[in-house]
Every structure is written in C-alpha cells, then in structure tokens.
Amino acid sequence: MLERTATAPAAWAVNRQPGAASLIGRAVNRAWDQDEARVFVEGLFAKHHHEIFAYLVRMLRDGELAADLTQDAFVKAYKNYDTLEKDENARAWLYQIAHRVALDELRRRKIVRMIPWTGEARGAAPSAERLAMDLRLSGPLERALAQIPERQRAALILAEIHDLTGLELAAAMGVSHVAARAILTRARESLRRALAAEKEFERAAEAERDATFAREARGGR
C-alpha cells in the first residue's frame, strides 16, 4: 500500500521562504523540455495517481470531481515540472499541487452565492448542497472529518492516511515544518471534539429509536 518516503530532502529547508515551504515557484533549475516533461509526468501518474485520486476523494467526497481534479493536478505537474528541484521530492510536490487544487475547489464552493431577496425574512435554511453532502457521509468519523476546517482535515488525511512525513506534510501544505505540526495538533483537537459530538448525537438518536420502539411495542400489545 502506501509507503512512507524515508528521504527528508535537505533542499526543502534551504529553499523554504519564511513561513512557507513552497516547492513550486522556486528558481527554475532545469529547462522545460516537452518530451522530458511528458515522460516525467507519465511516470508520476503511473506511480502516484491512485493515491492522489484517493486524497482528492477524501478531501472533496465526490469521485467524479476528484477524477477531474486529479487530471488537473497532473496537468499542472506537467506544466510546472521544471520547478521541481529534486526528483526524490516529487511525491510531496505532487501532493502540494493536489492540495492546492483541492483547496481551490473547496474555496470556490465557500464563496457566497448571491440569491435574490424574495421579501421573506432574511437568512435561510441550511443549503441543499450541505444537506446532500451530509447524507453521503456514512459514519461518525467521516462526518466528524467533514466538520473540521479543510486545512486541518487535509493535514490529518495526509499524515495519517497517506503517511506523509512531517517535512512532506509541510511541503504539501505549503507551510513551514513548525506550522504544519501546529496545524496537525489543532486538527487532532478539532477531530476529537467533532467525534465526541458525533458520538453523542448517535447515542441520543439511538435512545430515541429505543424509546420509539418501546412505545410501539407497548401500543401493539
């Protein structure tokens, strides 16, 4: 399955801007060659498309959209391949691209959509999109994950499911190593709270079901 990349590339620290561990947009150290880029990305795709697709599914919870964005991530990798300094950083670099693609998409969803005022009371019920999304999430863990801020969610998914190292996590998220650890700590706290709330909700729902069953049983006698 997924293997932790043992390499901790020293170049990351050298090239990291204060507060950011960007692997993209650094000084170009190789010329962009179309054929070379194509071969490179095809190799990346063969090796990593499964995990990149899985990451995007986990972030976006929409397989069709995740497929589109996986494709998008590899096109970006192709166009920017000359900015990758060392091939051994390719996996984290690819995750960084996918992470940004995911955040861009999530962000587009968050930007408010204006709707005309109909003369009714201002404010409205939860959006249909949100309700539909909630229904698709099967268990308490997935619902809890969906409730925490997306960068925190990304940190948990990348570190715990996709097994990125601390340095890789920082690179993938485009932040410093210290900031990545801090985000992960906050993510664990958020998840803990969200899970507790979900469990409480399930417990209450179960109690309600039991009570209903008991009432019906009594009524049926």
Binding site: R38, Q71, Y78, V112, M114, P116, A124, L184, T185, R188
Partner: protein, 570 residues
Amino acid sequence: MTLPFRRRHNDAEGTHERARDLSSRRLLESLDAEDEAWLTRHLDACTECRAEDAAFAADRELLRSLRVKPIEPPRDLWAKTAAALDFAAAKRSPPVASDSRPFWRAMPVGTAAAAAVLLLVVAVTVLPSLNGPGPQGTGQVGVGPSVAPGPTAITVDTAAIPAARVGADGSWDIFFTEVQKVCPGSSPECVPAPSEQAGSTLDLLGVKASTVTLSPHNDQLVFESESGTGNEGKILIQPVATTQPSQAPETPGVGSTPPSTPPGSTEPTPIATPPGQIEIASGVTVVGDVAYSADGQWLAFSAAPKDGSAGPDLYIYSMGSRAAKVVTTDHQTYFSAWLGSKVLASEIEVPSGDAGTDGNGKASNAPGANGQARPAEGRASSFLFDPATGARTELGQPDIWMPVVDPTNRFVAYWSGSLRSSDGVTWQLGDGQLVLDGWLDTAAAASASAPITGPAGHATPIVTSHVEDFVARFDPEGIRLAVWVSDHAGATDGRLHLVVIDPATGAIRADRPLSGEPALRRFSIDANRLAWVSPSGQDGQESSLQVLGWSGNTFGEIHSEPSANLLILR
C-alpha cells in the same frame, strides 16, 4: 468580540499546550530525548493531558482504518489525463516553433476540434474566475450566462464589495462581489446574479478581526495581531497578492491558443508568497476603526497602550514610511473618519473639579487617591487634522463627538452630547443623541472674516432608539447616510439604518430604505449600494451578505446564501 481562533495563554495553559503539541507531534515523528522525557513527566502528573494523549492515539488508529476502504480511480482517468496533457503541450509550445508551423496545424485534428469546443465552454464557465479583482472592480467580468434579468431589475452597477470568510483555523478567504442589478422586493422573479471573484487566501491566525481592513486598491490589509507568535499588540500591514495565473494570461478569441486545461479545472494557483508584513506600531491596541484615506496613501486609527494604562491617541501612517506616527499625546483622542485628505478626530475633556481630571481639564488616567477608578462625565470636542502639514483645526462647537462629514461637504453626522466613564480610561456615550447637521467650512473662503469649520447648528435626530455605540458613513453622493447603532457598548451586532437626505432642505426623508436591520458592525457603502452582514441567529442560522442597491429613489435587495464567519473588509 470572541473569535473562534482566538487563544489566550497563561503559564499553566502553556504547559498543557506544550504537552498537547508533543502528544500530537510524536505521532508524526520521533521526539528528541528531552521533549520525550518532559512529556512523560507531564503525562504522569496530568490526568487530562494523559486522556488527550490517549485520545489522539485512538483517533489516529481510527483514521488509519480508513486506508482499507477501497478508493479506485475511474478506468478512463489516464485517457482523459493524456488528452489534457496534449492540450497543455500544445499551449506550452512557442507560437513560432522551429519548424515555423502554425500552432493549430501542429495539433491532431481531433484534438483541435475538441479544443474549439472547450474554448467555447471554458469561455463562459471558467474564464470569469481567472480575472483578478482590480481596483474598483476593474478586471471584473459581467453577469454570468445564467443571468436573465427581468424588466424590473434595477441596474446599480457598483463597485465590488470586498469581504472575507474567516476559517476557524485562521484562514481568511478574501472575495469580491460585484452587484450589477438588484430587484425590488415586489418582483422577486427578476433574477440578477452578481459575479464573485476570489481574492487571496491569507493565514491570519490570531488577528483582531474587527481591525482587518482592506486598502482602496485591494493590495494590502491592515490589522492588529492579538495573539500568536509574539505578535501581540502589533499593528501590521500585510501585502495581498493579486490572483494571477502563474503563466502569462492569454486573451481568448478566434484563432487564439486554446485553454490548456479541461472544463472544471483551473489555472495554476498563485504561488507567490507576498513580501513580508510591515509592523507599523507595537504595544498598542486599536480603539475604534482603522481607515485608509480614499487614495490609499494614508492610514489613520486611534490606539491605546496594550496594558490598558491609558486611553488612545491618534496614529497616522504614510505609505512607504517605516512606522505610524502618533500625533497626539493626551491619551484621549479618537479617530473618527477621513474627510478628503484630512482626518476628523474627537477628544474628551473633563470639566475642572470633576473626578478624573488632571487639573488642566484633560481626562486623567490616574486612579483616585484611594486607588479606585473614579466615575467621570466628559465633554467632547472635535478637530480636523491634516497629516501632510500637521495643521490642526478645531471645530468651533462643543459636544461634537465622532463627526463624519459627507464627501460633498454639505452634511455631518455626529453624537451631540456628553460621554461617561467609570474608570477615566474607557469612555461611553452619555446623555445626548445621534444627529444629522449641516456642515460649514468657510475657512477656505477668502471673504470669510471669521472662518467657521463645523456643524451648522441645525441638528436633527437620526435615530430615536437608545444608542451606546454607532458607526456613520455617507454614500459618495452625500445624500444617503448609513448608520449602524448598538444599544450595548462593544457589541459586534446591532441595527443598520439607511436614511436619505433631501439635499435642498437637509431634512431626512420620512421613508427610510432601511430601518433598524440586524447587522454586524462592519458595513460598506459606496455608489448605489449598501452592503452588510446579517448576524448569525440563536438557532444556529448562519450569516449572509446583504446588499441594498438603488438607482435614484428605487431600491432593491439581494443577499447571499448563509455562510459562517463573513466579514466585510472595507
């Protein structure tokens, strides 16, 4: 205002926080021996931290169980990706290749046909999002293809509304909403669709949200840092990167290069890390609002020592200079508003003999002889300050507090009355009322024998409800005045009013377009529109961005879908 991302620290909390950090970190990577030993000792002594440590580990196992859930990519993923790479390759090729063949001919026939279709699709769906929000809405695209404004639509075509959605993790997603049309409430079938443009996303963990203000050119933010990495009490300017594709943008058109990415995709995210923040003041906290001058060259605010030892002074920052200059020293000066290139500010005087004075009539921050804070009644006075020359012009009349003058210099809104304080440092509105008045400025007239600058003295109450706090701003025409009031000092939500002034008589028209609408303190008024954020409800209902637009005396409204933590930025 309590924000979800605000953290307070003390020593005990600090050690628990360190334990939490280390508990989390050791699940990611090994700790050094010293940290490991410290954590072991702490966990032995702290039941709560031990429980949290165990919970982190248990949650981790739960998360890792998701690995076994199969997620299979679609079988045609490579085929689609390969086609998209072909497009990208074609786009990436130089226009004049070594073999001098035109780009279109270099493409496979099938690909060229698909590119032509894609060009059409992307032109109507994707390209709007690639235009960065320029100053005053430049770079904005028009209404999207779904817009079908009916005959009753009111065209307002106004400047973009800058706002942000604040994440609990300290991320600020800036966006711009441009409202071209609104519909009257009587014709909700008219469906205008404002265009939204995404701006930058910034990590502003620990900022005082009420101080975050976007510059007129959308190129920087100013804010106070409340907590975080040693940044407490600093006023900072953060450059804001404009969203730009990482490669040179292309102009779509007949025969132009096709879009490289398939529908639903985006250009590369802007990567550039903005240049560093500029610290313009430290050891202080902002009192009231921070505001840029209209040309964006100056910044004004009042700020008090962070330790609460004294009241605020007026600060002015000139773009490009190293730090903000404090231009008053009485610790009782409050920035009110810009009037052209000058600043309107107010100060407090306590009548001699009253508690809380220093003997010179100025409010004193020193506690009484018994060490107790003393209640005081203060009188307000206001002045104009020219940051370019340092010249100060007193407004002639007393009891003028926080005046705001309309851009055409005809009207002024202010608190007419006294102020009160329980400690001699923080002041609240006392007896009086919020009024609209005529504005006189004869200082520039050569014929004026006795120059007058200030209200004309024909005050009319704007609101009749109890007021503990207010913000007043005029539209550029100077005949519409938006006033936010709260009956509770320091509250973030209150009521928003919009009144229309008869320019001939200076009277407030009886029919008010907006009368006491629930709103957060931050609102934005510009030509043809007023925008505000409705407070979230007690039942968990989220906020929404509300826009009242007008054309002459015809008003219409539009609002966003509910969303958490919205904030208007200017």
